[in-house]
């Protein structure tokens, strides 16, 4: 078809002949497309494979030249080695408690607020909501110096709450997401509950929460990933070796000159730190993807 806008008849007439010539060209096109994308996928996934591969290699093979993804003599020795050099058990524990508490904290303050912003009428509601959404454009780095001073004054340096409490404030996106979801619920169910004499508190628990479970699941997953992976804030607040999180503590492998050669244990620790987020992603990737579609992430 040479002309950009052909009339319907020629298109129909072209049908059979086009069908005959298509398969080979289409097949070649598809094949090259798949090859290109597979190459890109390989490139994307290689660093992570290399991390896992190094984690299971013995010290000699780690430094052996060449590209060997499957260790010739797989070993678990790097894991206990890593635990011997640094308090990785503590780091893991700190990461887990901080991530769980931050996630719960964000849910606990975002859910009632999202409900209030959609279904409760109170003077100043629009202003409050603008204030919440407005936090999304305040760059995180602007908040770190004053927040650090505040946490220091509270004597919360090197504590979990010092990391958790300020992090919980960064939840505007989740409030927004939950609100969007609550807005899709039919008003009738709220009216019905009202007639039955339900107050705002029981409506929140008996109507909002059960009906927006998918959105709560997504917020939980995203908030957990964010909290598990956060770096700048725990880097500033947690200075004691035992108080650090995995993301921050791991860096000692690279910083400390004594442990500069410990690539095996370092990659073993990195592998451990990657398991929770990857497991979560494996379990919920469909839900994460569909939320992006339905919550209409547009400008």
């Amino acid at each position: 078809m040479a002309s950009p806008v052909a009339r319907p008849t020629p298109v129909l007439a072209d049908g059979p002949s086009a069908a005959r010539s298509v398969p080979l060209a289409r097949l070649l096109g598809l094949a090259s497309l798949h090859l290109l994308v597979i190459a890109l996928c390989a490139l994307t996934i290689f660093p992570l494979l290399w991390m896992v591969s190094t984690a299971f290699k013995d010290a000699r093979e780690v430094f052996a030249p060449g590209l060997r993804l499957i260790p010739s003599a797989p070993t678990l020795a790097n894991f206990p080695d890593a635990f011997r050099v640094f308090p990785i058990g503590w780091w893991f524990f700190n990461s887990a408690t901080i991530a769980v508490a931050t996630t719960l904290g964000k849910l606990a303050i975002s859910l009632p607020a999202a409900y209030a912003f959609t279904r409760l009428d109170f003077p100043g509601r629009r202003l409050c909501f603008s204030l919440v959404v407005g936090t999304m454009i305040v760059p995180f780095v602007v908040t770190i110096i004053p927040s650090y001073i505040m946490v220091a004054k509270l004597d919360w340096l090197n504590t979990r709450q010092g990391v958790i409490v300020p992090s919980v404030a960064h939840t505007a996106f989740y409030v927004f997401l939950l609100r969007q979801y609550i807005l899709t619920l039919p008003p009738e169910i709220f009216d019905a509950a009202r007639i039955d004499g339900a107050g705002p508190w029981s409506i929140l628990w008996k109507i909002v929460v059960p009906n927006i479970r998918p959105a709560i699941a997504v917020v939980t997953i995203l908030a957990f990933l964010g909290a598990w992976n956060q770096y700048i804030w725990p880097l500033l607040v947690l200075n004691d070796l035992d108080a650090k999180t995995l993301a921050v503590g791991m860096q000692f492998f690279a910083r400390n000159s004594d442990s500069g050669q410990l690539w095996g244990p370092m990659m073993a620790t990195a592998t451990l730190a990657t398991i929770p987020p990857l497991a979560l992603y494996a379990l919920a990737q469909r839900q994460i993807i569909s939320t992006f579609v339905t919550s209409g992430v547009k400008g």
Partner: protein, 319 residues
Amino acid sequence: MATAREYHVGGRRVGWRGAGVPRRGRRLGADAVAGYLFVAPLLLLIGLFIYWPLVYSAYLSLYDWNLVSPDWRFVGASNYTRLPDDPRFRTAFGQTVLYVAALVPIKVLLPLALAHLLWPIRRSRAQDAYRVLLFTPSVVSFAVAALVWLWIFNPIQGVLNQLLLAGDGSRVNWLSNPQTAIWCVIAVSTWKALGFNLLLYLAALEAVPEEYVEAASIDGAGGWQLVRFIRWPLITPTFFFVLVTTIIFVNDEVFSAINVLTDGGPFDRTSNLIYYLYQQAFRYFQVGIASAVALLLSGAVIVLTWLQFRFVERRVHYG
């Protein structure tokens, strides 16, 4: 439950709009009280840890203070006016622009092209697999990602040099060479973010009504024309969302990579304004200078966001 819908209402029947709802009056009062109570914890926290810091930063930026000493010296606007005299600030500023110039096209356009490539094989197992693989780096922390790349870039034992220079005796010191270091940070950042934006574009493409595409095909529109005249206008909201958020956050996102890979070096050649701020505040304890930079950065972000709403949004076709 005698309801046609699947909505839970604590075991009660749903489905009719109540004519006898107690309107206004006492009910409104209860609602208002509950409303305030429900938003109070959130407002308190964002006030304390987001808005107060913004105000306090403005205050701090007028002082010379070292984070611990009881001496505060009022210096007026000189923390701002003296910034351009600092060569490290100028380097960081230039590289902030470089990060935007290099990473914005990569992060915005590359996933867009990729999304169009993957579109023809939508709803296939293959595309699912590609999507999952390409998105994986996005769920891994930057701290892990940077550490793994540190190992790959290692000049002696790193796999990159071993592959590139097999047999050859010369080595590239990827991270300590001022010419290459910043590109390493850019590469890691690209690797990390590619899948996320791809996902957003694919979701936007999926939302394009199939009838539009069919109608255009019947009228004889070919592959490129479908992209240009049907799909592109309908995914512009997503495109601008990705564009603006990338511009705003690109320099935040490279922080961890810079911190792990190069610590801003060599000779500040991978530093940006965010890293400069961090070093001024927490390494040299120049709280006033760091706060001045913080204020300038938020000003820039607020202006960018405003521009987005003012000019870009209007020209966007919402589907």
